[in-house]
C-alpha cells in the first residue's frame, strides 16, 4: 500500500472526508449505546440536548469550553513551532497555585487591578514551568515530550503537597483544599444571574490575540518558519533557540490562564481535581482545530459539548459517561485520517 499525493483536492474531497469522519464517530457512538442497551437515536439526542438544549446547558458547555480553549491554544501555539508541549496540565496547575497565592489576601488591591495582576503572575508561573524543559531541549537536546509529560506528575504531587501542608485551608474540615479566594480576586459573571464568567471572554480574546500574533507579527512568522522547517529557518538567520523559548513562554502562559480562570472564575479555591485532564484534552482540541487559534474555540466548544452532553445523557439514559471519551478518541482519529486522506489517496500495491 502506498500514498499518492493529491496537489489540489476537490471540494467534494475537502468537505466529504471530514463529514465521513463525523458520521463514523456518530456511528461508533450509536453502536456503543446499543451495546449498553439504550436506543442509539435517543442517546445521541440526549447528548445534543444536554449540550445545547437549553440556556443552562449551553452556558454549562461554554463554561466547560473555557479551560479547553486556553489549553488548546497553549498546545496549538507550541505545536506550530514543533515544540511538543504535553505539559499543559502542569502549567495549568502552576497558574492555579499562583492565583490562590495572590488571591487570598496577599495583595491589598482593588479588584480592577488585582485580577489583571494575578492573571499576569499566573501566566509567568506557567511560562516558567515550560521554560525548563525547553531550555533542556534547545541546549542539550533533551526530548521535551518526555520532560513536559513527566512534569505533569511532579506538578500534581507538588500541588498535593501544598494542599496537605502550607496551602491547606484551616477551615477546610481536613479536606485537601486551599482557602477560598477573596471576593476582589474572583472573576465576575458576564451577565448577573447566569453562570458564565469573564474567563470565557478572556479565552476568546486570547484566541484572537494568538491569531493576530501568528499572522501579523514577526514572532508569529518566526514560529511558523521554525515549525515548518527549522533547518531553513536557522540558515536564514532566524534564531531558532530563542524562538522556541518565546513560543514556550507564550504556550505556558496560555495554559496557566486555564488554571487561573477555573480558580478565579468557577471554583473559587484549589483542589486536586481542579482539572479532569484539561491539559491533555487541549491536545485533542488543538489537533481537531488543525492548530488554528480560531478553530480552537470551535473545537473546544464541540469537545466540551460532548462531555457535558454525555454527562446529562448518562443520568437520563443510563449509558456510562465513558462514551464521551470514546467519542472524542474516535473523532480525533477519524478526523486526522480524513485530513491526511484529503491530500493523498491510497493505492494498494
Amino acid at each position: 500500500m502506498r500514498l499518492e499525493p493529491i496537489a489540489n483536492p476537490s471540494p467534494a474531497r475537502r468537505l466529504g472526508l471530514p463529514a465521513a469522519a463525523l458520521a463514523l464517530t456518530v456511528l461508533m457512538a450509536s453502536l456503543l449505546a446499543l451495546l449498553a442497551g439504550a436506543n442509539p437515536f435517543a442517546t445521541l439526542g440526549l447528548i445534543v440536548k444536554g449540550a445545547a438544549g437549553s440556556k443552562y446547558a449551553l452556558l454549562e458547555t461554554l463554561n466547560r469550553a473555557t479551560p479547553l480553549i486556553f489549553t488548546g491554544l497553549a498546545v496549538a501555539v507550541a505545536f506550530r513551532a514543533k515544540l511538543w508541549n504535553i505539559g499543559a496540565e502542569a502549567q495549568l496547575y502552576a497558574g492555579a497555585v499562583v492565583t490562590v497565592l495572590l488571591g487570598t489576601g496577599a495583595l491589598p488591591l482593588p479588584s480592577a487591578l488585582l485580577i489583571p495582576v494575578i492573571a499576569l503572575a499566573a501566566m509567568i508561573a506557567g511560562a516558567l514551568v515550560l521554560l525548563g524543559p525547553v531550555l533542556l531541549k534547545t541546549r542539550l537536546g533533551v526530548d521535551e515530550v518526555v520532560t513536559t509529560l513527566l512534569f505533569n506528575f511532579i506538578m500534581l504531587l507538588f500541588v498535593s503537597l501544598l494542599l496537605e501542608g502550607p496551602m491547606k485551608d484551616p477551615m477546610g474540615m481536613g479536606w485537601p483544599k486551599s482557602p477560598a479566594l477573596e471576593k476582589a480576586a474572583r472573576l465576575p459573571r458576564i451577565v448577573e444571574g447566569l453562570r458564565l464568567h469573564w474567563g470565557f471572554a478572556l479565552a476568546i480574546l486570547s484566541a484572537l490575540a494568538v491569531w493576530v500574533i501568528q499572522t501579523r507579527t514577526t514572532l508569529g512568522y518566526e514560529i511558523r518558519a521554525v515549525g515548518l522547517n527549522a533547518e531553513a529557518a536557522r540558515f536564514a538567520g532566524i534564531p531558532v533557540g530563542r524562538v522556541m523559548v518565546k513560543t514556550a513562554l507564550l504556550s505556558g502562559g496560555l495554559a496557566a490562564l486555564a488554571g487561573f480562570s477555573e480558580v478565579a472564575g468557577l471554583k473559587g479555591n484549589l483542589t486536586l481535581d481542579l482539572s479532569p485532564g484539561f491539559g491533555y484534552t487541549g491536545i485533542i482540541v488543538a489537533m481537531l482545530a488543525l492548530l488554528n487559534p480560531l478553530g480552537v474555540v470551535v473545537a473546544a466548544i464541540f469537545v466540551a459539548g460532548v462531555f457535558v452532553g454525555a454527562d446529562s445523557m448518562s443520568r437520563a439514559a443510563g449509558v456510562p459517561t465513558y462514551i464521551a471519551d470514546i467519542l472524542m478518541a474516535t473523532a480525533l482519529l477519524t478526523m486526522v485520517l480524513a485530513l491526511r486522506l484529503t491530500h493523498a489517496r491510497i493505492r494498494w500495491r
Partner: protein, 519 residues
Amino acid sequence: MAPETGAEVVLRLDGITKRFGPLVANDAISVTLRKGEVIALLGENGAGKTTLMNILFGHYTADAGTVEVFGQPLPPGHPRAALAAGVGMVHQHFTLADNLTVLENILLGTRPLLAPRLDAREARARVARLSRDFGLAVHPDARVGALSVGERQRVEILKALYRDARILILDEPTAVLTPQETSALFETLRKAVAQGLSVIFISHKLGEVIEISSRVLVLRHGRLVGEVATADTDRHRLAEMMVGAEIAAPRLSERAPGPAFLTLTGVDTPRRGNAPGLKGVTLALRAGQITGLAGVSGNGQAALAALIGGLETPAKGSMELHGARPADWSPRAALTGGIARIPEDRHRTGSVADFTLTENAVLESYAGPPYSRRGWMNWRAADDFARRIIETYDVRCPGPAARIRLLSGGNMQKLILGRALEAGPRIILANQPVRGLDIGAVTFVQNRLIAARDAGAAVLLISEDLDEVMALSDVIHVIYEGRLSPAFPRGTMTPAGLGGWMAGHGFEREHTRGGADAA
C-alpha cells in the same frame, strides 16, 4: 560497439503512459533495448526519465502500455518481478548498508533471513570473478562506510551483476564521480556489453552520453522527442532536442579582480558527522571574480559553505570580512556583512515548502524595515518584494500567495537567487546553484552570477560539475579532504589536471604551503 540491428530484443517498453492529475509524466513512450548495447536516456529534470524507470520497476503502474523483458510481459506493480527477470538498477543515491562489508551488502537479500550462517566461500569466489571480469576493483571485506563514492558505485553494480542482471540501468551514475572514476566506469560498461549485457544510461550530461551510448533517446516534457544513433549526432543537436530551443554557453569577459572582500587564513573547522571539516584553508574572495571550487562531493565543500554562510566558526585560523574580523559570526551576521547565500539544498535549507512565495522571499530580511516594524509584519511590502522577484527573475508561478512547494526546482531556485541578489550583496556564496535544474534555468542562473561578478561582486561557486567550474570561474581551487589546492587561474588547468587534484594527488606536497594565491 553498435550491435547488429538483428540482435535479440531484451527489453521493450511499449506505449507507456502515466498521468499525475493533469500532468502527463510519460506520454506513449516506447523504448526497445537490444542485447549488447548501451542506450542513453537523455532529458532535463522533470522530463519523465525517472517516472519511466519507476514504471519499469513496478513502483508505479502505468495508465497504459506494456513492459516486456526477454519477451515475457512484466506484471505491473510488482517491484520484484523486474529484478527476477534480470533487470538491475543502480540508483543515484546508493542503497547500501554502511556498517556491513562489501560482500555482506552484495549478499543481503539473496538468502533466507534465518539461514544459520553465511556460506561465503562460494559467494566470495563469484564476487571475485565478477569484479575481475568487469574491472570492478573493490575489496570484498572492506566496510562500505569506509569506501569512496566511486567504490560504492562499483559495489552497487556488483550487487546487480551478482543477482544475474542482464540489463543494467544506471541513473545519473557520473554525478558523484571524478573524471578518472568516470572513465573507469565507462571501461566497466564496455566490458559488460561485450559480454552481452545491455545498459540504459540515464543522464543529462551530453559529453558522457555521446561517449558511452550507441543510441540516444531524448525525452522532453514526458514525450519521446527524438531517437538517434549516437554516431549521427553531436552535443549541440542533442542539447537542442533536449531543450527544444537553441542555447548559448555562458561567457566570461576579461576583468581585473578587485580587492579581497573575504579572506580565510589557515582556517580549521571541526568535523560534523560524516562531513570532514576544513584543514588549514587559505582563500581570498575578490571583487569582480568568480572563484570556483571543484572537488568530489563530501570533501569539505559543506564545511566551507557553512563557514562563509555563518553557520560555522573557525576553530583555528582567521576570517576577515571587508578587512576586519567579524565580532560574532552567525547567518544574520553573514547577511548584514553583505554575503548572499544560495544553499546546496533548496528544498531543505533554502526554502520552507509550506510557506508562500512571499513568506519565502522575506525569509532572510523579514526582521527589519520595510518588511517589519517593531515586530509587526508589513505583508504588503513583502508581497511587493515577492512580485518584484517573480517579475525580474522570471519565476513561473500562480502568484506570490502560492505555496513554494508547487514550484519546479528551477523556479524555486530563481526565487532563492532573486532573494539573495536583490539584497545587493558584495559576496555571493553559490553552492551547487544549478544542480538538478533544466538547461533553461541553468543558463539563467549562471548568467545572473556572471552579471553580479561583472558588477563587482565576489562569487564563490561550489560545484561537483567540473565543466561548470571550468566554464564559469576566474580562478579554481580544488578541495580534497578539507584541504584546498592552490588557486589555478582560468585556462591554466586541464580537466585531467584538476581531476588529479580531485583524487588527492598533489596535496602531499602542496598542503603545507596552504593554497597560495596564484592570481
